[in-house]
């Protein structure tokens, strides 16, 4: 499984990537949308973990751009807000089970990644 982590908090994604690597998950990270798009054009990923609020465009917009080039990719959204507005937007876009709230517990994230990769992540 190859995962791309995108969050404007560089220290957060870099640390998270290292922790996922320790658990056998191949992870790369980007702290801005341009770098994320560059990465998906150069390398193959299975899943992208996207922050909902990103500079220049939001996570949903980034998802649409990635999806246009990499239709096989699956997505999990992460946000610090946990607001009803975010929840509705992400639920409509990707299913409520693909939506996590910061701070994310690593075991929960790994389980979700495995489910999504295996195609067993529940959707309403």
């Amino acid at each position: 499984m190859r995962v791309l982590l995108v969050d404007d908090e560089q220290e957060l994604v870099a640390t998270l990537a290292e922790r996922l690597e320790m658990r056998g998950i191949d992870a790369a990270w980007a702290s801005d949308c341009a770098t994320a798009l560059e990465l998906v054009h150069k390398e193959r990923f299975d899943i992208a973990l996207l922050d909902v609020k990103l500079p220049s465009m939001n996570g949903l917009e980034l998802k649409r751009l990635i999806e246009a080039d990499c239709p096989w990719m699956k997505f999990i959204f992460v946000t610090g807000h946990g607001s009803e507005e975010d929840f509705q937007a992400c639920s409509a876009e990707s299913g409520r089970d693909f939506y996590l709230i910061k701070p994310v517990q690593i075991e929960v994230l790994v389980q979700k990644l495995n489910e999504v990769f295996a195609g067993t992540g529940e959707q309403p």
Partner: protein
């Protein structure tokens, strides 16, 4: 005026809600980073138990990361505290430059999300008599409108100066910013704030600057 004050209060509640939502997001981010660093420490300790060496340098780096995020959270909470108190402060003499710096700090996250560089230029001390919260609200509205008009990659610089017996805030924008559209947006949404502050909006004749004229002392 009571109607205007009522509307000022409604605008204030909206402003307060949006600010606290934004600040809570910033705090969440710092907590998430602390969470990951603490988790990584735990992971490394487990690996050390299994025989993988762990350098003191790595531990020092992780401890420093956590300390830096705690400091960042402390700064954010101080800002939140000052902001919360400003909501019930009565009219008082305040340094305009200080209010600009504080409001710019409040707007920093929005600027970052919009890809806009926001700075405050050093200037001469100018004192105005205002309810600080109302001025913060009006400045926020000006910035929000300018950010929408400017777009990603632009810069906005705030500066305060004396203007005869009054005060002037200059909100200088990158070339190409539709400053007149931003001014119209502020006039439309912020009329009660302008009225309470007895302030007047304008656009610099050469363009590129939104001008906020404030009386040094309110009348009436």
């Amino acid at each position: 005026m009571s109607t205007e004050r009522g509307t000022t209060s409604e605008l204030g509640i909206d402003f307060f809600g949006r600010m606290t939502a934004s600040i809570s997001h910033e705090i969440k981010n710092t907590l998430a980073i602390v969470n990951e660093n603490a988790g990584l420490l735990g992971d490394l300790a487990l690996l050390m138990d299994k025989g993988r060496p762990l350098s003191s340098e790595r531990l020092t780096t992780l401890a420093g990361n956590i300390r830096r995020q705690v400091q960042r959270a402390d700064d954010i909470i101080r800002r939140l505290n000052r902001f919360a108190h400003s909501a019930h402060e009565p009219a008082a003499s305040v340094d305009l430059g200080e209010v600009l710096t504080f409001t710019a700090a409040l707007a920093e996250r929005l600027a970052t999300m919009k890809g806009i560089g926001l700075t405050v230029a050093a200037g001469e001390p100018v004192t105005v008599e205002v309810r600080p919260f109302v001025l913060e609200n009006l400045l926020w509205l000006c910035l929000e409108q300018l950010f929408a008009a400017a777009g990603s990659g632009a810069t906005v610089t705030l500066a305060a100066e004396a203007e005869g017996g009054a005060a002037l805030v200059r909100l200088r924008c990158s070339a190409g910013t539709e400053v007149a559209a931003a001014a119209a947006g502020v006039e439309g949404a912020g009329q009660p704030l302008l009225a309470e502050l007895q302030a007047r909006l304008g656009v610099a004749p050469a363009g590129g600057e939104l001008l906020l004229h404030l009386p040094v002392r309110r009348t009436g």
